[in-house]
Point group: C3
Chain length 379, copies 3
């Protein structure tokens, strides 16, 4: 509603105005669609919840973004897209059965962890595509994440933090530690540490591949290692919020540079595996803080910290053949939200009030304009 | 008092009624005995506290159960029973010296961690039975658990959680990491991961041994690996609460099935080592939730999660030669108590009000009957 | 002010009285200097803050102690002293930029973690002294510790705990895991576990070296492995508080005995590496509890627990080539501050009111004298 007000001067623009209207309708949280769906059949509502759940993985809340990401996953690998959808459904249904808050379920908050777990099970499985037994752990793992988020909620709530992807990270590490590489039913590929082995001489850096790796860094949040799907995922972020899309790319760049400074193996840089933790760490700041030059510096710092922490954790966990998945970004992101310094704290948005960065910025400006005494915040 | 009211119709039954009276007197928390002991000599009171402490290991609170378990331990190995008793005394006395809450000490809450630590020190020691130097770490370890529970209490209290066996698990892992396998004074056996080595071919499953392993799973909570003592321990649980005994067996069955699904080494299944974390995880739900078909499902889920987490942690810690002891059940049990879904939360009993499941059920029913608006809980 | 009142009887003592006055002026927290500096130039104030920050590492709060310790570090290695100062400045400036509480910054609370990180980076670097690239991670690491303390503060505040050296321990472990031993830019020495290898026969113990190791244990808090600087550091502690100096030595003795009982390698005992966690663990009790025979026992227990935990963690982390730095003392110290037993809790000083042990003792006595009902505390 409020978005369309902005367009009143263009009301006579005809087609152009209609296109802009449609674009604005699709951007942000799409609250209009959400209210519109309230009286639709249950199955249609469930589809909206699940699409929002898919977009939640990458800090969005927009069913259209979710649909674009699902398309990207189908393009990357239909089998993994199936697994992810199954995990998403399993965790959403578990949340409904447990009686979790209805508003949370309908905004997709109980689906994204399950989706990621199922997706990563498929990525690490060495049994090949269409290995149907894998549907079993995908369902169980998805359900387990809902248990975990339900349990972690009262603890993190106490400091106004989101549960974030802690459940996913915990469940996937436990699953991989449980099954291992030689399990007769669910064998996995081992994870390798990014640290270059002592004997090898690193070949020269290939700059175009490095640049591609930056884009792939955004895709690797969904374990996508090819360019097309990664660009689609970046587009999905752009639909929700251009600011977040810039954050994602900026984070991936900083993270790749951190990887270069630690001379990680080149294939980590080229595949985007070096970039995705930094991208996530940067996006957390973009999503939970009012955009300003101060928070931009903070997002760079968060990206660098996430990237270095990821290298450290990957080296440590790689020693026992486990991946660090997104532990680094999750931990650093959580710590960043806890920062107490008064120069940053005033830019922090309470967890329950977070919408898209553009909307946050707008409501902050309106609020600042009416409250004179808050003008000092930008001083 | 209230238990005997139940028997008024049978008052004329003579011998039969007397036996039932005696049985009912011995079941549950034996509060009558507790009040009866208040004015007895200190040493006699201490015996009651310690016996309750022994039973606390397996979530009971009944001195008779404690005595039966002590008998089972003596039957299994007198040396280990001695060590366990010493650890129990050390931690109870430390609690008294530190000035812990008197009510807590007298209900055995400051003894069970110390007992388990001393018991496990004996089990892992490779110096043989009656190696008297081991009394030293047994005492110190027992005292250390009391320090730890005293420190953890204000943290877990905040979310109405019990300290549980976190102190035991922490101290035993630190002790084994400290001493290791080649220590000249306190050598230990290394712990092996349950994951089957890649080269070996698993032989065929022996079903009777598997069934025995389910019962041994209950005994392994006290590190008992033989059938007689395990049955005695199961009997001790039955004395306190038949519901908990069913939970223990159910958990052990689920846990063994989880072990089968991950194809762990057969000796883990046969010895009950696969079962005990599931049994504990299942019993936590039985003890802290009102019994209903919903919580029965939850207890199955808790047993499965505990079992899989145990395999994962055992594989991880086994890589450095350490056992996962009961970390899995303790962590999952704590998370289950934190669940926020409204369908489960209404069945959760506040930590301070937990008695035996049968009593919980009865007081819940009485309470439901008087409060009309709570009838929705079983809808 | 109050300290000088004590000297009124000696007012006619001339030179002797002046010396005592000067000594008393320099001991304790030197609040007079702090108030005196308020209207001095910013740069001079910054020097005071940083010197206090140096002394904070070892639980002091005295700029003179800080200066003595800086002298000791310069004596040990000018390069490492430079690195430490840089880390100190980096973390202090980050705190100012983040807008942390001014009072905290001026009392050095945001400098000591950064200093330790930079110092240890220098110690572990295998690239030799004056390797200028190391200034980069030293600055970044210092800044990272400030982020971490700012984030951890709201969590630990909840239980009235100090942030302590958790940020240092986290950052240094992540840095070493990130770079490793074969990094082309920032190579490090690997850390070795204290556990003696199975093959070696321990030679006979050399008692004078063992005694020297006890003193070096105090120096090892600043990674000083030679006698002169260690004695200077001990002197710096004595300036702030003789009680703490005794605690430091007592802790180092207990810790060395714990090392002997676990038969760690002799070079750990001789170099003071066995002693420093115990010294710190013992000093925490000295600093945060009113001095009495009860808290003296507690400080011995804390030293022993810290020492054994340090051996366990060093063995575990040593398996992946990482040091346990002061994790053990930090964890045990934090747990000791959480103790709930009423016999100890009444001796605990609220975190915000901690000054030097002598002052704590004096204000406690004054307070006890006026409040009759508190006389039971020493009963």
């Amino acid at each position: 509603m409020r978005i369309s007000e902005k367009n009143t001067p263009e009301q006579s623009g005809g087609l152009k105005q209609r296109v802009i209207s449609a674009l604005l309708y699709c951007s942000g949280e799409m609250q209009q669609l959400h209210s519109h769906m309230q009286d639709k059949p249950y199955l249609l509502q469930l589809v909206e919840w699940c699409l929002r759940g898919i977009s939640r993985v990458i800090l969005l809340n927009n069913p259209l973004s979710g649909a674009v990401i699902l398309a990207a996953l189908l393009l990357e690998s239909p089998w993994q897209a199936l697994l992810g959808t199954l995990g998403l459904l399993a965790s959403t249904f578990t949340a409904i059965i447990l009686g979790q808050d209805c508003e949370e379920v309908s905004s997709g908050l109980h689906g994204f962890n399950g989706m990621l777990v199922a997706l990563l099970m498929g990525v690490f499985s060495s049994a090949g595509d269409w290995y149907w037994w894998l549907l079993l752990p995908a369902c169980l793992g998805g359900a387990a994440t809902t248990f975990l988020s339900s349990s972690l909620a009262p603890i993190v709530d106490h400091w106004d933090l989101p549960v974030s992807v802690f459940p996913f990270n915990t469940v996937i590490v436990l699953y991989l530690a449980c099954t291992g590489t030689s399990n007769p039913y669910f064998p996995n590929y081992p994870a390798h540490p990014p640290r270059a082995p002592e004997s090898t001489n690193q070949t020269q850096l290939h700059v175009p591949q490095l640049l591609q790796g930056v884009v792939l860094g955004v895709g690797q949040i969904f374990a996508c290692g090819t360019l097309g799907p990664s660009l689609l995922i970046l587009g999905a972020v752009f639909i929700f919020s251009p600011i977040l899309a810039i954050n994602a790319l900026l984070g991936s760049v900083m993270s790749t540079m951190a990887g270069l400074s630690m001379s990680v193996q080149h294939r980590f840089l080229y595949s985007g595996l070096s970039g995705f933790n930094g991208a996530l760490g940067c996006m957390v700041v973009g999503a939970f803080f009012i955009f300003s030059w101060r928070t931009l510096l903070l997002s760079v710092a968060s990206a660098l910290l996430s990237a270095y922490t990821d290298i450290a954790l990957s080296n440590l966990l790689g020693a026992v053949g486990l991946p660090a998945s997104s532990w680094a970004a999750t931990l650093i992101g959580t710590l960043v939200l806890l920062l107490t310094g008064k120069n940053l704290k005033e830019h922090r948005i309470p967890t329950g009030k977070v919408t898209s960065p553009e909307m946050n910025l707008r409501s902050h400006k309106e609020w600042s304009a009416t409250n004179d005494y808050t003008t000092t915040t930008d001083a």
